[in-house]
Symmetry: C2
Subunit: 256 residues, 2 copies
Amino acid sequence: MTSPQPPRRPSGQPRVPENYDPADFVPFAVTVDLAVFTVRESRLHVLLVERGEEPYLGHWALPGGFVRPRESAGQAARRELAEETGLSPDTVAGLRPEQLRTYSDPDRDPRMRVVSVAYTALVPDLPEPRGGGDAAQARWTPYDELGRLAFDHGRILADGRRRIGAKLEYTCLATAFCPPEFTLGELQQVYETVWGVVLDRPNFRRKVLTSPGFVEPVEGPPRRTGGRGKPAALYRAGAATALHPPLLRPEGRTTP
Amino acid sequence: MTSPQPPRRPSGQPRVPENYDPADFVPFAVTVDLAVFTVRESRLHVLLVERGEEPYLGHWALPGGFVRPRESAGQAARRELAEETGLSPDTVAGLRPEQLRTYSDPDRDPRMRVVSVAYTALVPDLPEPRGGGDAAQARWTPYDELGRLAFDHGRILADGRRRIGAKLEYTCLATAFCPPEFTLGELQQVYETVWGVVLDRPNFRRKVLTSPGFVEPVEGPPRRTGGRGKPAALYRAGAATALHPPLLRPEGRTTP
DNA sequence: CTCCTTAATAGTCACATTGACTATAAAGGC
DNA sequence: GCCTTTATAGTCAATGTGACTATTAAGGAG
């Protein structure tokens, strides 16, 4: 059952299950960590902040921080995202960080027992973070140029990447990586970048356009230049959230 | 970043982010809750325990309990599953509770701040729990006969059900509901029960048998009686873990 | 022992989706 | 104008799936 008689105060004497030694009890700290992804120049990037204190001083880490006494982990995730990344309030307001999983290894933080609830968020390319809150600086880093990160953040990012790769298959999530109006070529870039594959353009196009509610055409000026070549039509995200049938990645290989 | 200067002891004065009032700080308790599902008599059942204390005294709740100082949430989940359900050690040893998500609403426990990491587990029908640990009693309850559960456990079960329904589509997880050797009819029962639909038998059969590694035939006595009718061949779970292409539920409706 | 019921297994056929291609259209740079 | 580049249109075969029909192998009733 949940929480049988937790200590009311650190000095209280809780009723505990057998084999449980009250002397071992220490409070847990609960934090959130954010795995924020974007696609930039056809490469997957993640948002990192530089740690300003020990342990891992000077190392790169995921943005995040404590969950406060009166907020949920989800609220903390949105707050930290705004505080630490320096993204515009408008940008942050549109994001829906999604819970990834919780990391609770007893030794994941050398100082004390910290349980962290990790979230993923997908953003379009535009914003360049500057760092805020207590993060020394924040920046986008290509996913495949990551060095060793603080704590278990490397593992969190690997889990996050696998998750978003899978979600691209059966949800309309890919549009979250794109600006409000985008071309099908840009959308395809998202898939190719996250999955690390090359897709056939006409087939991709057909699949997206025949999936009801995935994208809807933008009426106005039906074109826009990306440089040379024929101008592409613009689309925006549709109302659908799931993709039926799914858009499976080639070969069924789950990129590890 | 993760855990910038947490309080070392309840009286310590931590460095905190702006807008953060140290006086508000209270330690979090961290628990695990288990959503254990089985299929019994063509109905989805969940494992519940009766609470022996306030709050929610006498209400039914999910098995679970505190995460101990030196164990991870996953270890706690396995331990509680063994302690509180009274399932045989052999049965429990084969289970791989999978993390569902973390529930952290500030008011989910009226006594104090409790963050709970929820897990799902799927078991074959056989075992009848007796309750152990500090659970007054434990029993299987049909999913659609649930009353109001303690805390937010009703919501956890709803999330867990949705998750396993989705995982049946693209993983080989369904075999976890079956005994070591099973017929294709039993496997189909699992899908029909969890999804709440009726499937075409020949088509289901074809799909399962052509999915490499989903099931493998048992050599020995190639039959077994379930009552009347032609005896069915026996199979056991194969080595595959993912299903490519997936076995999509009819109509693409995500049972809410 | 024969017929009837029940359930498993085998097989068929049309249709939808997909992967691999080919062809055409509309821009910019010389 | 011609070449390059990119978007868009369309074709065709292989595959997977939904809806069926047929056959096989039990147990039970008479």
